[in-house]
Symmetry: C2
Subunit: 165 residues, 2 copies
DNA sequence: TTTTTTGCAAATCGTTTGCACGCTG
DNA sequence: CAGCGTGCAAACGATTTGCAAAAAA
């Protein structure tokens, strides 16, 4: 039974095209996952998606979620980015534009930013080093304005040491 | 039995000081780990260290290695940085200076670089956003000059999707 | 002696995978 | 109908942890 389809946005078409090109199928599960991601999330992880999908209606296994996330990353609808944590984090790619992250180590807030110079500078460096960039990632860890006075040094040192980058 | 100490370099003193400040002990195992790291490595992982330490003389458990690595990160003698892989990578911090990485997705070569503008730009962004930076990390993934013609698109798309950042 | 360390093995935990059944195209 | 997709549960694999024995201070 096909999901009572809301008008499929461009993301859906993109996914469909990708799947067809790989001879893969557009299943209900895949549709629901994509919809959930683009409806409700900015940054999320597999567990959030699992709970989000299972709280309401029928269940969906973690396996399917992981497998679908892989496909979505492959066709550039989703970006994988652990944001310093030990597990994977993902984000929906809404516009084509890229951005980097400020990550608060106290409250886990993620602040996105984009700076053209920064991108250009990177291009420049790659060119100099004769390196062909395919992906890049800048994350700055620290304390957001709300958290600056809420922790102590030793806690922060521990947290910095725990960062996975 | 204390290791027949080569003249302890400044790193050793730093470690010793740190340990003492925490009422921890300077054991043979810890000395050997630090020595191995600063003698032989640039970028390494726990497994490399394990093999390096165990191939010659007596054995050392992985547990000790992980526990010691944690201490070394705490006292800023070692930096933890997965470089996009699923497991942790580490590097000895030889000078105080910071650098970023170009990482070849084909041959895993790591090219270090430093660019003052880049650092300044980041400072600027943080200042604007009222964010206190504690750690940052820029990695550019792609193909080094030697590998540019050695792979195909689909392989690279897969590898990019596997990156953990 | 007292406290910290170590090695071992078992436990974690997010993620991946093999398999048998079910559904899509 | 053939080929993918799914759920389940088991496998994975790097890292962590509890515990009893061993070593530093």
């Amino acid at each position: 039974m096909r999901l009572n389809a809301k008008v499929p946005p461009s993301e859906m078409r993109c996914f469909e095209t990708y799947l067809r090109s790989k001879k893969l199928k557009l299943t209900d599960e895949r549709v629901k996952i994509l919809t959930t991601i683009f409806d409700k999330s900015t940054h999320f992880n597999a567990e959030w998606l699992y709970r989000e999908l299972n709280q309401k209606k029928q269940s969906m296994s973690r396996a399917t979620i992981y497998r679908t996330l892989y496909l979505l990353v492959q066709c550039n609808l989703v970006r994988r980015n652990s944001l310093g944590s030990a597990h994977a984090n993902y984000e929906a790619i809404r516009e084509a534009e890229h951005h980097d992250h400020l990550i608060c180590l106290n409250c886990d807030r993620v602040i996105e930013f984009y700076r053209l110079n920064l991108e250009q500078l990177q291009e420049e460096i790659c060119h100099e080093k004769n390196f062909q960039p395919l992906h890049h990632n800048l994350q700055i860890f620290g304390l957001c304005s709300e958290c600056i006075n809420k922790t102590d040094d030793s806690t922060m040192r521990h947290k910095v040491a725990q960062i996975r980058t």
